[in-house]
């Protein structure tokens, strides 16, 4: 990336705008299509999906339940009925396959808000801000479960912006637009990726799920990297890239193994050298570690 340039400028020149935004467009389609399925009922009277992101029923047969919401139910001391348990199990299996934080980048509507804030932050050249640990989200995740357990009632869902926005869009927003604005301003002025990357306990939960997930992004052609930093600039969790991209010397495989990677695919989009690609966790075997060592020996020779 040229100084002051925009990440992906090179690849846009090379391949055109659409190719450089392929996964971004797919993600927006995914996010809006899922929202559209929920809205088709109340707006058009086409009842494919009922409910909202916390729990839904598709075509009258398929129950889906957010496992974190159900965890809060358990923490509050209630044992849910079978429908919710089955629904949560299906969702758990799905995200264990495709990556926990796929929820964040392909489903969650707040992602559109925080991506917009990040885009504007970059365009306006806003730097720095509050310095809170990205581990705060784990603390918050623990705290919301403890508060539910102590209070004996679900606490987080009273303020959770993620479920609030989704429920609001499907059932009526009330003052929830204020919360959307708050998250936007937080990410714009208080800190880069402050909400999704540091605070959101929903993302923290799905990140934990993602630790064991199958679908992964890998720096499969990391030897082609020209250190342009576009992927770091665009990545919402940029700490996840370095081990896979620059770990050849240390014998680290090419697959991004962190649960924080949201599988958003933006690194694939913005890389002009085609370093990144979707793969599975099983392609991170020692063969690539060996090849990494080979590369090292090539470099040193």
């Amino acid at each position: 990336m040229e100084p002051g340039g925009r990440p992906g400028a090179e690849v846009i020149k090379l391949k055109g705008w659409f190719a450089a935004h392929r996964y971004l467009i797919l993600r927006r389609i995914s996010q809006l299509a899922i929202l559209g399925l929920f809205l088709a009922g109340p707006l058009l009277g086409v009842w494919i999906v009922k409910g909202n992101i916390a729990s839904s029923l598709t075509l009258g047969v398929l129950p889906l339940t957010d496992p974190l919401v159900l965890l809060q139910v358990f923490a509050s001391g209630h044992v849910p009925e079978q429908a919710a348990l089955i629904g949560a199990a299906i969702v758990l299996v799905f995200y264990l396959l495709v990556g926990g934080r796929v929820y964040c980048s392909w489903v969650c509507p707040v992602n559109i808000v925080t991506d917009a804030a990040e885009w504007l932050r970059r365009r306006l050249g806003i730097k720095g801000g509050a310095n809170f640990s990205s581990k705060t989200r784990y603390w918050l995740l623990g705290a919301i479960l403890i508060v539910s357990a102590v209070a004996g009632s679900i606490a987080w869902e009273l303020v959770n912006p993620v479920s609030m926005v989704y429920r609001g869009l499907v059932f009526g927003m009330g003052l929830a637009w204020g919360i959307v604005a708050a998250v936007f301003l937080l990410d714009l002025f208080v800190g880069r990726r402050a909400w999704c990357g540091h605070l959101c306990p929903v993302g923290a939960f799905y990140g934990l799920l993602g630790e064991g997930a199958v679908l992964r992004v890998a720096a499969v052609k990391r030897e082609q990297c020209d250190d342009c930093m576009d992927c770091f600039a665009i990545c919402p969790e940029h700490q996840v890239i370095k081990p896979a991209l620059k770990g050849a010397d240390k014998g680290i495989g090419t697959v991004i193994t962190s649960g924080h990677c949201t599988n958003c695919g933006r690194c694939i989009d913005v890389c002009a050298r085609d370093v990144f690609a979707f793969t599975t966790r099983f392609s991170n075997k020692s063969s690539q570690v060996v090849s990494g060592i080979n590369q090292k020996s090539e470099v040193s020779s």
């Binding site: 009842w47 909202n52 139910v73 705060t136 919301i144 009273l158 303020v159 009526g172």
Partner: protein, 298 residues
């Protein structure tokens, strides 16, 4: 850890950074958790006009189980239920209705309860007449026109449990002196809290309202026992033998509780019927009761 001039505490700087950083995060999150806990406590205070769907008991337990998905709202055929939005006084995202807007139509198959995936609406509720969403209360006797002696009985007539959840008590109309008041009386034994009475009340502001049961119900002291109920249950007096009340009456005279009053030995009521003209009495009769019963006193 070696002590040096720049680090008198002897703590390794990176360790120090880690500890202060962790402490900062812990304190920050702790404050958020505390605020959240306080907010959750306040969110349990249900406004008096907000009625929960069928199958909800304790508000705290309901808020432990409800995941705010709105499936009950979607399966309500009358659009009675809605989810609380940010800014409403009801806990965010939870289902409720306001009877004066849209009351519960008490569907036989209770679709809202069937839709609930977590059991926040108790799946054990199979008979909608057993639902206790709230309790109707005649809150304003000054406004209710039945208390003014006017015929209304709309609440009585719209009640889905007609004749048992709301009954009419007939009382004397003191104003006219010759009419009856038809007073609506709610019985908690049968009232489901559906709110159709509140919806139908003809007044500008309903005189009969449905409140959450916790607000509407009083309770007898736990140690209180109603003697007559205990007696009926046991089939006899529980403390001392139930002796008939003894009147200190002259011989051959007894007292009849059903309204006849004093009865002479021959079955003739002592007080003559109003239709029978009273024979003039001698000033001093041989029967002392004649003196007692004499009109105009002694």
């Amino acid at each position: 850890m070696a002590k040096d001039a720049h680090n008198p505490s002897g703590i390794d700087p990176s360790r120090r950074r880690f500890l202060t950083g962790t402490l900062r995060t812990a304190v920050g999150v702790g404050l958020v958790a505390l605020t959240l806990g306080v907010y959750q406590r306040q969110a349990r205070a249900l406004p008096a006009t907000a009625i929960r769907p069928p199958g909800v008991g304790d508000e705290k337990e309901f808020q432990a189980a409800c995941i705010r998905c709105g499936l009950c709202v979607r399966d309500c055929p009358y659009d009675t239920l809605r989810l609380a939005q940010l800014g409403d006084a009801v806990a965010l995202g939870t289902p409720y209705f306001e009877a004066r807007d849209v009351p519960c139509e008490m569907c036989d198959h209770i679709p809202c309860v069937k839709a609930c995936p977590t059991g926040a609406l108790d799946p054990a509720l199979a008979d909608i007449n057993k639902a206790r969403m709230g309790l109707a209360v005649v809150v304003d006797q000054e406004a209710c026109i039945a208390f003014q002696g006017l015929r209304c009985e709309v609440c009585f007539n719209v009640c889905p449990v007609r004749g048992s959840a709301i009954t009419l008590a007939y009382q004397h109309n003191d104003r006219s002196g010759k009419h009856a008041l038809f007073i609506p009386v709610v019985h908690s034994k049968d009232c489901t809290g559906c709110g159709k009475c509140e919806k139908a009340c003809i007044l500008e502001e309903a005189a009969i309202k449905v409140f959450p049961i916790a607000l509407a119900k009083g309770m007898l002291g736990r140690h209180y026992r109603l003697g007559w109920e205990q007696k009926a249950e046991a089939g006899k007096a529980l403390v001392t033998p139930d002796l008939p009340h003894e009147y200190n009456l002259p011989e051959g005279v007894r007292y009849e509780h059903a309204g006849k009053g004093l009865i002479m030995g021959d079955g003739r009521p002592v007080r003559p019927r109003p239709s029978a003209p009273e024979p003039p009495l001698p000033p001093f009769s041989s029967n002392p009761l004649d003196t007692l019963n004499r009109k105009g006193g002694l």
